[in-house]
Amino acid sequence: MNNLVLLSGTASDSHTWNLVYLQLLLEEEGYRVVNLGACVPPVLLADECEAEQPDLVVLSTVNGHGYQDGPRALAEVRGRPGLAAVPVVIGGKLGTGGPEPAQADALRAAGFTEVFDDDTAITRFREFIAAFVLASTADSVS
């Protein structure tokens, strides 16, 4: 466990404020962050994951293509050596018409560890990374 988070936008999303903010938030929680920035194609994301072997992968996207882009990114990551089980979460504005619970469930079914796509996203994400740190600490103690 080296507390490394790989933070990334999705292939078609150009927004970066979400990534700037999440980097600060994660660093304040004690993580090291590799921030890949905007418009990260699945192959580049998987290459970087393979090189960095992060403890957690965070995809953040707000352009409304997340329900489509998320599974493509995840499939590429999961296919790489050592990355079959790395926790991958996704959040932001994932659809063009607001949160869609059925689509969020589809993302979980596709293998995302957690999906943060509604009004409670940031609160739940903070809780998630806090609990994640605790769980990792417990792991390293045992």
């Binding site: 292939a11 700037v20 903010y21 600060l24 293509h65 489509q68 659809g95």
Partner: protein
């Protein structure tokens, strides 16, 4: 001049602000209906055809697949649709100017597609559509934009005054807008507009727009130009009344500072992509707000013009053509966009909002901006501070309308 620029000039001559939506639908029928609705709005409008995100990044295969699968796209895939389809979208709209908006660091295919469909106006820039939005090296973007401009004969707007959407101090926005327009002109574009996005303080914004006009008059005297203001591009108020107040303030800012055109936002901005009806309402409200004020020739002077002039001159003094100079300027950090994650941005500059609501430099990196312009009081950047700065305008406008104060 072009059809688009002619329409803006005509409106300006009659003292009317041109208002324009953001709008793009995958379906040709919906796109056409949207343009017709904008044309029919009770306002002096021009239309917008925004491409989808796949087209923006050049993934035309993904755009085609989405069209075939009936998946939702967030814009009109102008490269993937047949030119005849796009001409049908525009059929009978002759005389109604439409601008293609795209966000691409490699706009060559998009420029070709819009020209083939008979359109004459688009926007962007080698810096403003690369650094914040793309992974492409800036060098590649400059090359692609040079080629695209050389082949282009219409009206081109710089997006340089909108960098990052929020928290970029006005002097850098003004400088980038002017520098991109100089780049366009060097590559043969004869009709340009210069953008500026509404930021956090109306007086500071008015000063910035005056500075933009002063520098445009100085550096672009041999081409047709006008100024376009963007309603706030950061986190938007969540309440309909807060959103409307912010949009109305943008319209008033545009008129008071002498801009000719305004890109509006809608009450849906904080929540989702707006409907056509929400866009029409935003256009009509903005036009009403614009008609309630008039041009004010004076403004405060807190150094925006001096800073922007220093930035523009420092870049133009570098050897080579404007594209080469822009590349060198970013390499040396003479231009440095706060919070921009792109590898070709130096990343030493930081900004914050001061107690009066004005955007200030926390640090200027290697930019030729006097140290006296740096406000050391706001140098902490925690996630909480950043989030507060990003949401400040939204909260302010939501709170103000809750109190029923429409000032």
């Amino acid at each position: 001049m072009t059809g688009f620029a002619d329409a803006v000039a005509l409106a300006a001559a009659h003292g009317r602000l041109v208002v324009q939506p953001r709008m793009g639908m995958a379906s040709p029928l919906e796109m056409r209906a949207g343009l017709l609705a904008v044309r029919g709005a009770r306002a002096t409008t021009v239309g917008t055809l925004t491409v989808d995100s796949y087209t923006r990044v050049g993934d035309h295969r993904a755009a085609l697949e989405a069209l075939h699968d009936g998946a939702r796209l967030n814009g009109y895939p102008i490269v993937s649709h047949h030119p005849d389809t796009t001409r049908a979208v525009l059929d009978g709209l002759s005389g109604f100017p439409v601008q293609v908006r795209h966000g691409s660091a490699d706009p060559r295919a998009i420029f070709a597609a819009l020209a083939e469909a008979g359109l004459d106006a688009t926007e962007g820039g080698p810096v403003s559509y690369c650094l914040p939005y793309s992974r492409k090296p800036l060098r590649d973007s400059v090359g692609h934009w040079s080629e695209a401009c050389e082949e282009f004969s219409g009206h081109l707007e710089t997006f340089g005054g909108c960098m990052m959407g929020q928290l970029c101090p006005p002097s850098l926005l003004v400088a980038l807008s002017v520098l991109e327009a100089i780049f366009f002109r060097f590559h043969g574009v004869e009709s340009v507009s210069l953008s500026y996005a509404q930021q956090t303080n109306a007086d500071q914004d008015a000063e910035a727009i005056h500075a933009l006009r002063t520098l445009a008059a100085r550096f672009l005297s041999d081409v047709d130009w006008h100024v376009v203001v963007y309603a706030y591009m950061g986190v938007f108020p969540r309440t309909p009344s807060g959103a409307r107040l912010l949009n109305d303030n943008a319209a008033r800012l545009a008129v008071r500072a002498g801009a000719e055109r305004l890109i509006v936002k809608t009450v849906a901005e904080a929540h989702r992509i707006p409907t056509v009806a929400e866009n029409v309402a935003a256009l009509e409200n903005a036009a009403a707000a614009a008609s309630s004020v008039s041009f004010v020739s004076s403004c405060e002077d807190n150094g925006v013009l001096a800073e922007a002039t220093a930035l523009v001159e420092a870049v133009l003094e570098l050897p080579g053509d404007p594209g080469t100079a822009l590349l060198a300027a970013f390499r040396r950090g003479l231009l440095d966009v706060p919070y921009c994650l792109h590898p070709d941005n130096a990343g030493h500059a930081r900004s914050h909002i001061d107690d009066t609501g004005r955007l200030r430099w926390s640090s200027v990196g290697a930019m030729p901006i006097p140290r006296s312009a740096v406000d050391r009081s706001g140098t902490t950047t925690s996630s909480t501070h950043l989030l507060a700065a990003l949401h400040r305008v939204a909260h302010q406008h939501d709170a103000r309308t809750h109190r029923g104060d429409e000032s």
